[in-house]
Amino acid sequence: MSDSILVIGGGIAGINCAMNAAKYGTRVYLIDDTPSIGGMMARLDKTFPTNDCSICIEAPQMYEVDNHENIEIITNTEVRKVKKINGTFKVKLMQKAKYVDEEKCTGCGACVEVCPVSVPDPLDGKVGGMRKLVSMAFPQAVPNVVTVDPSCRFGDMRKGGACIGDCAVDCSQCRECPIALCVKACEKEGKKAITLWQSNKKLDLEVKSIVVATGIKNAPPVGDLLGYDKFENVITNTEFERLMNAGGPTSGEIVRPSDKKHAKKIAWIQCAGRGLADGKGTPYCSKICCMVSAKQTIITKEHDASVDATIFYNDLKAYGKGFWEFYRKAKENDVRYVRGRPYEVFEDSRTHNLTLRYEDLDSGDLQTHEVELLVLATGIMANDRNKRLAKALKLKLDDLGYFKEKDPLLSPLETDVDGIYLCGGATGPIDIAESVAQATAASMKAVCVRP
């Protein structure tokens, strides 16, 4: 009989769920399928409606769960199979190789410096800087160790069983590759932490309850939505968030992708892609995007008050505590709110400026507006990995891809399987405070399960 619980997903919801349960005295496994915990919040710059710095408030919690004696963090790891036997969940996990010995790596970054191969950083999308093939997810990553990208050619060659360079040994057996620069750099530091020969690892856990906290994703712009695929200077709000971020690819300089010049005229389009058919866009209001844009304009104005910021919107969603005041703050900062529906975007091929055509919903007129940078607020969607996880956990998803609750009225956060609970973005579009509140409630349910 196990008295431990498993929390799947290490975003702010998973972190809070784990932390509360651990403080209660329960043992917690906190897993994430990416190399670091932190989730969406680790990518954000500030958070509405207070403009608290996101990583400033999240990192201390990340360190706290990292150091808590009741919590074991397992990253880069997926749930493969779950079986419930006599009230205990037997969980099979698969830990994808980081090609790094987590015990030995100190996160010093010497390997990152020498790695000759850079690839676009998927975190940063279109505004992206480059990332080395061996890299740290972000500076505050927990665990604070690097990961070698599986596409590193040495990794690939190893898979093919080929010999690397002029080395005489069969590399699939070699424990100390002398050729790879990262391996060498690490050795020079005296650590020998890089293990390019590492393979995926299977882990087995037994737990009494499970909390699903797999979060959300930003809806990708599909079908060349408003010129996103064609024009460099059309970006999503998640990408803009990275632009604003002092820890992001441009160190917080709001410059546009085409010429790296400071953008002086920027527009945001709310509900971009909403209502597109076939599950391509979000069919519903994602509720947080209005505040995300308000935040982004306020911060932009803080960076440079002379920037002309316009938000095209239809219905304003300012549902939470302090949200309306936040919207008013944006307006006081001379952010222009236009009730309008942009339907087409053109690029001036010389200046790379964008002209959008929109219908002014107040006057009914068709208008145009020219900007240097265009931000699409594309909404929130269910995490794609939910499908596979739902299958493993034998849970149902709703039409929109979020996990289904058994009875939201009388058994909130419970699922059809006794002992499996939900919180955060796994339940639907959500903000940080709501994620934390739900996570705390889910932890209550999870620790109270009697094995």
């Binding site: 207070t50 505050q140 820890g247 579009p429 109270c448």
Partner: protein, 688 residues
């Protein structure tokens, strides 16, 4: 402990080549050996490796070391590890001082190895000077029993009570109305996930569970009259309405779930002048008791008293109006139902409800933000004038029922409860949680949690979830049997205390109580160690463990012993400012090396004296660095620091120092460039 007994061990880390590649570590070690009280200094290739940690423990034991200085990366990530190691070696972990020579030296002065080495020496010297004065500390515990008071018996309160009681703890629900259920008692249907359930059934199901639970005691028609004490030992006095007798309870934790109420629109929309003009809640009530009658023209007006200068979005009005419009259409299919709105904010499934409403023939008309519909009575008829934004025309709707979706405020007991518990509210009459993002279910004061519409208007489901979450917050100390805080706490020496009471008023956590003789007393388990009180005490009576005045001044003096005129003393808060410093390090931003950093938990710890002392010793400048506004890890320590800085500048001028040399920077933990830039501009402006 006498001076001779102080035996300091200094452990300097190479961090591979990360530190040793720039700093001459052997020279730093040799330098450390020469410092007073140091009995051992050692160089470690990787101090945090398992091998070295055990070597470190052996060295500590062999040399009877009783103070440890580790010079390596950053306390923000590695202090817990070294604290554990020292503890296991038999040294009280509060006798460890952490010196950061990677993030603050080798990574940011990569091209100036000699200067970097000198700075590393200085930082080690400062660490040793502080270490000599360190005193033992220990985690502080306060016993907590298992009796939880829940104020408010609505959905949040009942859910909280059940969660608490299911663990075998005692829950006491105090409800001022005769019935459990709160605002839900006035509601007909609850809509959710494209379904609806009769509210009465939901309340009954919950209330039956609550009533039959052996560990839940319910006091209806009762109010809290008095609250004394703090977490673990509250005495709560209850008074039953219309009854003179009182009842006392011994309580360990408290959950506030007092809900909200509608703000009736006085003198607006003819409300109060005609029974056919009602609020949304009154409509729900009519639907519930089947008193709607035969209506033909229903007009609903959204955002009444919401989204204006004083109040935000009510969060539930839109979907409530859609839900009730559908209900009316189902009862009276021939009725015309109009919803006049500003923004339709419907999330997820709520959107489907709107489609259903449209299919049933409910009409949605949008009015401009600054041009609300007008209601007037004419010859006994009700008429609603609206400017329809979509068609750009104004017209009038005839109506026999006008329903106003009004704003909400906290229950009218908020002020009273606030006074009893000494917690905060906001101008809307709702309770204010400890942290808008990360502390949604608790107050700043330990032991009191918060749930549901007492905090802000929210849906049924959110309230229920919050009730369960608040129960978790209350249950953690009850389950453990105690609360524990790190031993970095305030300690008052009453010798010079003038009983001004300032400390008690200033503490953001209500951790200082004033007793019957007006003497202040720190409830250590509640203190978070920010040091605000210590910095503000006019008589310097308050010490903070690990950050006492003496210790900080020892660091200042050590730093300024040599070449003070070239140096800047920078006080940085442990959270964001040091985060920014570390970020500058990780990003290898190169900046001038003049600053000697002194870590404090909060910028509010930096007293006027600490701002002035470096100048007396000839320093070139002083910097106070804290969290960027509004992010403060001690609620608003940075605001207190900012105010104090202003006063200090005046004082400095009077004392004959240049106030322009006292700097500040409020920087986020992600903002390495900001810290580095501050260093650069300071050097320029100070002419260094």
């Amino acid at each position: 402990m006498s001076d001779e007994d102080i035996r300091i061990g200094v452990f300097v880390c190479d961090c591979g080549t990360n530190i040793a590649g720039v700093v001459d570590v052997p020279a730093v070690v040799a330098f450390a050996r020469g410092l007073e009280h140091v009995v051992l200094a050692d160089e470690g290739r990787w101090s945090c490796s398992v091998d070295y940690l055990s070597k470190m423990q052996d060295l500590i034991r062999e040399n009877e070391i009783n103070r440890v200085v580790v010079a390596s990366c950053t306390p923000r990530t590695h202090e817990p590890l070294f604290k554990r190691t020292t503890k296991e070696a038999g040294v009280n972990p509060y006798l460890l001082e952490f010196v950061s020579i990677r993030e603050q030296v080798s990574w940011v002065h990569m091209k100036e190895p000699e200067i970097a080495t000198e700075k590393a020496k200085d930082l080690v010297k400062m660490g040793v000077a502080k270490a000599a004065l360190l005193e033992e500390g220990q985690e502080i515990r306060l016993p907590v029993k298992t009796d939880c008071l829940i104020i408010g018996g609505g959905m949040a309160g009942m859910n909280a009570a059940l969660s608490v009681a299911d663990q075998g703890f005692n829950a006491y629900i105090v409800e001022k109305e005769p019935e459990l259920g709160g605002v839900l008692n006035q509601i007909c249907f609850i809509s959710h996930d494209n379904h609806k359930s009769p509210a009465a059934r939901v309340i009954k199901a919950r209330a039956d569970q609550v009533r039959s639970h052996p560990r839940i005691k319910i006091f209806t028609d009762t109010q809290v009259d008095k609250v004394d004490g703090y977490i673990g030992s509250y005495t709560v006095t209850l008074k039953t309405n219309g009854d003179e007798s009182e009842q006392n309870l011994d309580i360990s934790t408290i959950i506030v779930a007092t809900g909200m109420q509608e703000i009736e629109p006085a003198d607006q929309f003819e409300y109060g002048n005609d029974p056919r003009i009602i609020t949304q809640l009154q409509l729900d009530n009519k639907l519930k008791f089947k008193q709607l009658g035969d209506v033909k023209n229903v007009v609903m007006v959204s955002c009444v008293n919401s989204k204006n200068e004083t109040r935000g979005c009510c969060n539930i009005g839109c979907h409530t109006s859609v839900k009730n419009a559908v209900a009316i259409k189902q009862l009276c299919p021939d009725a015309d139902v109009h919803i006049l709105y500003r923004d339709m904010s419907l999330i997820k499934e709520e959107g489907t409800a709107q489609q259903l409403a449209k299919r049933l023939g409910v009409k949605f008309l949008r009015f401009p933000d600054d041009r609300y519909p007008e209601v007037r009575k004419q010859n006994g008829d009700l008429k609603v004038k609206i400017y329809d934004l979509l068609v750009g025309k104004e017209f009038e709707l005839l109506s026999d029922l006008v329903v106003l979706s009004t704003a909400f405020k906290g229950n009218n007991s908020v002020e009273q409860v606030k006074g009893l518990l000494k917690v905060s509210t906001n101008p809307d009459g709702f309770f204010q949680e400890s942290h808008v993002k990360l502390g949604p279910l608790e107050f700043a004061t330990d032991g009191i949690s918060l749930a549901g519409c007492a905090k802000a208007p929210m849906t049924f489901r959110e309230s229920s979830e919050e009730g369960i979450g608040a129960a978790m917050k209350a249950s953690i100390p009850m389950q453990k049997g105690y609360i524990e805080t790190e031993g970095i706490v305030a300690d008052i020496d009453l010798t010079d205390c003038s009983q001004c009471g300032l400390c008690s008023k200033r503490c953001p956590y209500s951790a200082i109580k004033v007793d019957a003789e007006e003497n202040p007393d720190v409830i250590k388990a509640l203190c978070k160690g920010c040091g605000l009180c210590a910095a503000d005490c006019p008589n310097e009576c308050i010490g903070i463990v690990h950050y006492s005045d003496d210790q900080v001044f020892a660091q200042v003096e050590a730093a300024l012993e040599k070449a003070p005129a070239e140096k800047i003393i920078a006080y940085v808060c442990h959270w964001c400012a040091l985060g920014g410093v570390d970020m500058a390090g990780v990003s290898r931003l190169q900046y001038p090396s003049n600053a000697r950093l002194i870590r404090v938990m909060c910028s509010a710890r930096v007293s006027m004296k600490m701002m002035q002392r470096p100048f007396e010793l000839g320093a070139a400048g002083v910097l106070v660095a804290g969290c960027e506004f509004p992010t403060c890890h001690y609620i608003e320590g940075n605001y207190a620091a900012e105010k104090r800085l202003k006063r200090a500048q005046k004082k400095l001028a009077k004392a004959g120092f240049d106030p322009e040399k006292l700097w500040n920077v409020w920087c986020s933990a992600a903002d390495g460039p900001k810290f580095a830039n501050t260093m650069r501009t300071m050097i320029q402006d100070l002419g260094l």
